[in-house]
Assembly symmetry: C2
């Protein structure tokens, strides 16, 4: 069955990159934005690169309505407002994938520093705002630049965590649509702060080493750790 | 010139593993422990595996006195007390490498959860306790089990951070003594909390995937990022 995925914040670099890769792999992609025209533009850009592509642009609210998986890729400063705006439109049984990294830049600080959130992590904040929706933290550390280079596989793992094994299995399947990416189960949603921190670490390495696409591979795991 | 390194907490699994690798590479190793006999036993065990080895066991206080680099590998619960006990014995110009991971187990909690320290990180706590000593955070995430397998290279990077470029260069050189390990500069000491969090993430993966030696490789950096 075709995966139906909404990318909320799908006009940003990270969201667009994910949407591009999902579309390339044959998923039905709904790009969401606060601005309908921007969402439609982003969908057109993706359609021009991938053929045949099933990508359409919508307001965030409309984008999530038909999706089985909703991927949230907005800055921390927009996370709460965006979640409130979509929560009544998320389809019953749908999963939210939160990729938010709680960076200090949200309050005018540095890109490489994290904020401590009351809930412990951005993903737990999302879960509190969406009662009843299984939340999986994932895709924080995938380089937007690497995602955009459609001819190149990525060279990085994505750590995922959440409290629903079924939802994590669905996200593992979604991650597998991106060549080179391996999803690794990092436990309950409670661990999301460690994943968000690891993403901040990669951002910090990008700044220091003047690259845009540092990634992380986990070594020493048994084969099948990504199942 | 021969590297002179003291491993404080050198009778623990992590400290012994590092001491073994440093000795194997020809460094002069001073193993420190609160218990002199345990330190001497550990030194004998290493000498039995590596020949010729220059490894001796001492109290922590005596171990650090002759070393150019002091590596601290104690649990968080012993970090402050140990630093206070050695600070008057550290040689002028010597560097402290702090590998402490602030885990909740220090207060009876879980191995895979971190504590938030007043100073921001265990390494910054060490720096506060050792005014004038250059502190580098490093070696948190190296698997003790992998270090102990002398015939096998490791498959992981060690992220290092600190405020002295010279001290970081010395630690990079020390890391290079361990086959397979690449030190990657992760910026100022202020970033140590991200490194400590990344170590907790690996501990969490070890528990979840029932392994003892998960590690981390950073991808997408320019060659020479470890310089």
């Amino acid at each position: 069955m075709q995966i139906k995925v909404a990318v909320v914040g799908g006009t940003g670099a990270e969201g667009s990159g994910l949407a591009l890769r999902f579309a390339k792999a044959g998923a039905r992609v709904f790009i969401g934005s606060r601005d309908l025209e921007k969402a439609q533009d982003a969908a057109r850009r993706i359609s021009a690169q991938v053929s045949p592509a099933e990508v359409t642009g919508h307001t965030n609210k409309d984008a999530v309505a038909a999706a089985g998986i909703v991927v949230l890729t907005v800055p921390l400063s927009a996370q709460v407002e965006t979640l409130k705006s979509i929560r009544d439109s998320i389809a019953p049984g749908a999963i939210l994938v939160d990729a938010t990294v709680p960076l200090e830049i949200a309050i005018g600080g540095r890109l490489s520093r994290t904020l401590t959130l009351w809930d412990g992590s951005a993903a737990q904040q999302a879960a509190r705002l969406l009662p009843g929706v299984p939340v999986v933290a994932a895709f924080h550390a995938l380089s937007a630049e690497a995602l955009a280079k459609l001819d190149h596989p990525l060279d990085c793992d994505t750590l995922i965590c959440g409290d629903s094994a079924e939802a994590k299995a669905a996200v593992t399947q979604l991650a597998a649509l991106i060549p080179g990416v391996r999803a690794i189960d990092a436990g309950p949603l409670d661990n999301a702060r460690l994943l968000e921190s690891a993403a901040a670490l990669l951002i910090s390495l990008n700044l220091r080493h003047k690259v845009k696409g540092s990634g992380m591979r986990i070594t020493g795991l048994p084969s099948g750790a990504d199942q």
